[in-house]
């Protein structure tokens, strides 16, 4: 039995122009994960809406076995968050918006709040499409944190489920760890050596994480590592954009604190400008 972290998926939908693509994408994902799929609509329930949605569902070529639709009323963020708890959902699916005229994606206010408040993992979908766009390259964070083990494990299972070709584990290393300011040749040499040393240590750490993952050995999934010295959360997003990754997998934020509003941490950089589809793994250890 293959380890599968996502057994129950939830998608909150609204009647928007992208609904069709969203539904196609979501059903396809759920069937790849062999998971239950729950649709939740927050707002007025009318018969015309219901028939329209049912018709749409029937059109989907790939459908998971277990699909259910719920119609709820209330404030969207709170309602969806409580649904996630109520149904014991593993993964919340959200669609992102595209900035007008610019090829930049961002989260609507509802999705943004949900990302912070959801008790489960969250997948932010950039470009839902009716036809399948294969997910070839997965980028996952590998920095030193208790959550990382689970995140990397999830990355491998998602990679297998979506039959990706490559997983890159990116270790973001804060430059303060180098602790050498480059001023001249000598300090540059020192800094370069120090970085190489940290780089080796990080590689060993990540290799240890991957050793514990049974999937990594069995499947023919290629994986590699890349260390980046730079600000955490920013670099990996920029990197994912450069290598044209199809999915970026990140740890969920540690409990947000008050000052994080002023000093954006980790995820904020990525949420402000989504580089690609982003999967945020809510670890069981976190909380």
């Amino acid at each position: 039995m293959v380890f599968n972290p996502f057994k129950k998926l939830l998608f909150g939908f609204a009647f928007s122009p992208s609904l069709r693509a969203n539904v196609f994408e979501v059903t396809r994902l759920a069937s790849f994960f062999k998971a239950k799929l729950i649709f939740v609509h927050v707002g007025e329930k009318t018969t015309s809406k219901e028939t329209e949605f049912d018709a749409l569902l029937k059109e989907c070529p790939l459908k998971p076995k277990d699909v259910s639709v719920f119609w709820k009323k209330g404030e969207p963020v709170k309602t969806l968050a409580s649904c996630c708890e109520e149904f014991d959902v593993d993964l919340l699916l959200l669609g992102a918006l595209k900035r007008e005229n610019v090829v930049k994606y961002y989260l609507g206010s509802i999705a943004r709040k949900l990302t912070r408040e959801a008790p489960c993992s969250v997948l932010l979908m950039l470009k839902p499409s009716i036809e399948r766009v294969p997910c070839k390259h997965v980028v996952v964070n590998g920095f030193d944190s208790p959550q990382t083990q689970e995140t990397v494990e999830a990355a491998f299972s998602v990679g297998c489920a979506l039959s990706s070709e490559k997983i890159t584990v990116v270790e973001e290393i804060s430059e303060s760890r180098v602790a050498v300011t480059v001023d001249d040749d000598r300090s540059l040499r020192k800094a370069t050596l120090k970085k190489e040393k940290i780089d080796r240590e990080e590689k060993i750490r990540v290799a240890d994480i991957i050793k514990k993952i049974s999937l990594a050995k069995t499947k023919g999934l290629k994986w590699e590592t890349q260390s980046i010295f730079g600000s955490r959360g920013y670099s990996i997003g920029h990197y994912a954009r450069i290598v044209r990754a199809d999915l970026l997998i990140m740890n969920a934020q540690e409990k947000p604190r008050f000052y994080h509003r002023f000093f954006p941490k980790d995820l904020e950089h990525i949420l402000a400008e989504l580089p690609t589809d982003v999967l945020i793994i809510q670890s069981k250890n976190n909380g």
């Binding site: 300011t181 370069t192 890349q226 920013y234 670099s235 920029h238 954009r241 450069i242």
Partner: protein
């Protein structure tokens, strides 16, 4: 191990650094005196700054071959400070200004301590050029009158500029003799680089002016037995007792707004001038080291504080004197130290001679300096990059002239930003992304290359982010900078990148910029890299071939070689030759290549020195592949200059068996044993019996330099035959 080695090299190179320090002091003496006088400070204030700067920065500095002393850029600020703070009383103003200098030294020190060296990147390149030009115009406007012997012309810069024609018409009526010395001096300075006599060039131009004018004084006194016809007010005065007459800085205006404004202006200019100079001088370092800018700023701050207490001007890093240092074999900070020592000796022992220097001669040197700063060529070069850059330049220049330096540079920054908004037509791009990180750098695991990607926009506003990353890449590596995610790149960044490219080239690294080509096509990118290289100005001019080019083309046919008249801005193959280490290569042109690409004849434009000591040179070179592996060596004609070098510690390899060769040739290189075994009797006879060229080997290739000018057709033929004979001789050695 490392320490012992460094100490050993230090002592080994000491003689040549003493020599370089001596040559630098020859330039520094007239400049130090002149800059002090131009600021209305006592002449010795400049010398004090140079001596203190030389000693303190040599001990505490972080750069290697820079020279520190009173700077050109500060003249205008100091002059304004001394005249305004004293409210008419120049000496009082000087004492107040000393206090300002001390405070600015403290600020400078803090700048370095807080590692704010990167701050200079916040100034857009064109605005900076405009400000420097304004300083140049200011110096020129005032000193032009002094050069003609008229010290009483007053008014602001614009008024003084307007009065230049009057002064030109009138000066013969006041101090004709001194005025003529000034005019002759300035003409001499302009034509100095045209005179291509190596002995003549041993003494830097400013010193010739000083020596010449002192010589005239002695001629009158000793030969004609007459009084020198120069009015005493046009001669330098040095107080009898230097130590006892130390001025006391007056801190009385500490809370005065004008005073604080002076402190800020002085600091601003000192930082900008020093950082620009350090960056430029690093490119001339034979040992290709990177300077520790922040450490240098700390040392300059400390030096300014001490200098201020001793009555001296601010200490900054100066470009012209540093380049003289580089060209004369300075290899470490000790040359800065020795330049200070020599200056001190000059003042102590040649005080009488110094007092014979006419002010008009010094003013001529300053006029030349001012002209170089404000040279119209700069404006033309900037206009070629883009008309909007010229606009920024002019706005900054004019605002600075009519108001003050700080207002001027602020106007420059604002106008640059407005131009960017206008070009990009989007405030959104700049405002939204200004404070976000936008640079990613990582070392690619597969190739080991450094990959740098820049997002959103990159301009003077956030160039420091990119710089911080680029500075972490060793210049011997392969770096790729990708702008494909970047919507806007400005001229300041393009120029900065060009600088990086040159540093990487020097250390045999690779620095590539990608992702801009699509860009230019998409948005008609206004600051495309091709535009930022001045070389393109020349490209359009070469439409028809000159006679010499036609002859070269004919020669190529005769030899069945290929002739390429095109200008090449980055000539290949000349890296690694010692000859180019302290020179800047501009471009190569008129290339003759044989079929197998073994021989390569080309004209090369290169420059030596920087700023007022800059000389643009041209020469014809022959580059060819050696049939055998050679040791690295340089072979040159033995003459007065090389004899001097030898005395200064550059070694000459001599052969006991071949006294004629040893006498006529100067042969140098590190691996003596290998060189000695290469130069056997046959080879030595070959060199003895052929015309003498400057020959260098970098191991695999040999470079032959013709004359100090472009070679004629006949000379090129001789060079080619010489090289062919040499190749066949070397083949036999195998």
């Amino acid at each position: 191990m490392g320490k012992k080695n460094t100490a050993l090299t230090f002592f080994k190179e000491l003689p040549q650094n003493i020599f370089a320090g001596f040559v630098v002091s020859l330039v520094a003496l007239p400049l130090a005196l002149g800059l002090a006088i131009a600021s209305e400070a006592p002449p010795l204030a400049g010398i004090v700054a140079a001596v203190v700067g030389g000693v303190v920065v040599a001990v505490f500095g972080g750069s290697h071959i820079t020279i520190s002393g009173p700077g050109n850029g500060l003249v205008i600020v100091l002059l304004a400070a001394i005249t305004s703070l004293g409210a008419g009383n120049l000496y009082q103003g000087y004492l107040f200004t000393l206090a300002a200098i001390i405070l600015s030294g403290v600020l400078l020190f803090l700048f370095g301590a807080l590692r704010l060296g990167a701050m200079s990147e916040f100034f857009p390149a064109s605005a900076l050029q405009g400000m420097l030009a304004a300083i140049g115009v200011g110096i020129l406007a005032k000193q032009f009158h002094v050069m003609l012997g008229l010290t009483s012309v007053s008014g602001d810069t614009i008024e003084q500029l307007m009065r230049i024609p009057d002064s030109l018409l009138l000066f013969l009526g006041f101090h004709p003799f001194a005025g003529i010395i000034g005019v002759v001096s300035v003409l001499f300075l302009f034509f100095y680089s045209r005179i291509r006599n190596p002995y003549f060039h041993l003494i830097p131009a400013p010193m010739w002016v000083v020596v010449g004018s002192i010589g005239i004084g002695y001629y009158y006194q000793l030969v004609l037995k007459e009084v020198v016809p120069i009015a005493p007010e046009l001669l330098i005065k040095i107080p009898e007792k230097i130590i006892s007459t130390l001025p006391r800085p007056n801190f009385g205006k500490l809370l005065d707004l004008d005073f604080l404004g002076v402190v800020i202006s002085i600091t601003l200019i000192a930082v900008i001038e020093s950082l620009l100079s350090i960056k430029a001088v690093d490119k001339l370092d034979i040992k290709k080291r990177r300077s520790n800018v922040n450490k240098d700023l700390r040392a300059l701050g400390l030096a300014s504080i001490i200098s201020g207490f001793l009555g001296g001007l601010n200490v900054v890093t100066v470009i012209a004197r540093s380049s003289v240092n580089a060209n004369n074999g300075g290899t470490n900070r000790s040359s800065n130290f020795f330049h200070a020592i020599f200056l001190m000796l000059f003042v102590l022992f040649l005080g009488d001679q110094i007092q014979r220097i006419p002010l008009t001669a010094l003013a001529a040197i300053l006029v030349f300096t001012g002209y170089k700063l404000a040279s119209p060529e700069n404006l033309v070069r900037i206009y070629k990059i883009g008309p909007e850059q010229a606009l920024i330049f002019i706005i900054t220049l004019v605002t600075t002239l009519f108001t003050s330096l700080v207002t001027g540079i602020t106007a420059g920054i604002l106008s640059t930003f407005i131009t960017h908004l206008f070009l990009r037509k989007s405030l959104y791009l700049f405002s939204l992304n200004l404070f976000k990180p936008n640079v990613l750098m990582y070392r690619e695991e597969a190739t080991g290359n450094y990959y740098v990607s820049v997002k959103n926009f990159c301009s003077f506003l956030n160039f420091y982010r990119l710089k911080m990353k680029l500075d972490q890449i060793p210049e011997s590596e392969h770096a790729i900078v990708d702008f494909s995610l970047c919507d806007f790149v400005d001229h300041t960044v393009m120029e900065g990148l060009y600088d990086y490219q040159r540093s990487f080239d020097r250390k045999n690294g690779v620095f590539e910029t990608i992702g801009l080509d699509i860009h230019a096509a998409q948005t008609q990118h206004p600051f495309a890299v091709r535009k930022s290289l001045p070389i393109n100005m020349l490209m359009g001019l070469k439409n028809s071939l000159t006679n010499r080019q036609k002859n070269l083309s004919a020669l190529a046919k005769q030899l069945s070689w290929e002739y390429l008249p095109k200008i090449d801005s980055s000539p290949k193959g000349i890296k690694g030759f010692l000859f180019f280490e302290s020179k800047v290569v501009n471009y190569s042109v008129n290339r003759l290549v044989d079929g197998k690409q073994k021989f390569n004849v080309f004209d090369l434009s290169y420059s030596e020195g920087a700023f007022i000591t800059k000389e643009d040179l041209k020469g014809t070179f022959l580059l060819f592949k050696s049939p055998i592996i050679l040791p690295v060596f340089v072979l040159d004609k033995e003459d007065f200059k090389t004899a001097l070098y030898q005395w200064a510690g550059f070694n000459d390899i001599n052969f006991k068996k071949h006294p004629d060769f040893s006498k006529r040739f100067h042969l140098s290189g590190h691996d003596h044993a290998k060189i000695k075994s290469l130069f056997n009797s046959d080879l030595i006879y070959f060199f003895e019996s052929h015309p003498i060229f400057h020959i260098e080997s970098n191991g695999k290739h040999l470079l032959i330099k013709g004359n100090d000018r472009l070679s004629g057709l006949q000379e090129i033929k001789i060079m080619i035959t010489f090289a062919k004979d040499l190749v066949s001789l070397l083949k036999n050695q195998k």
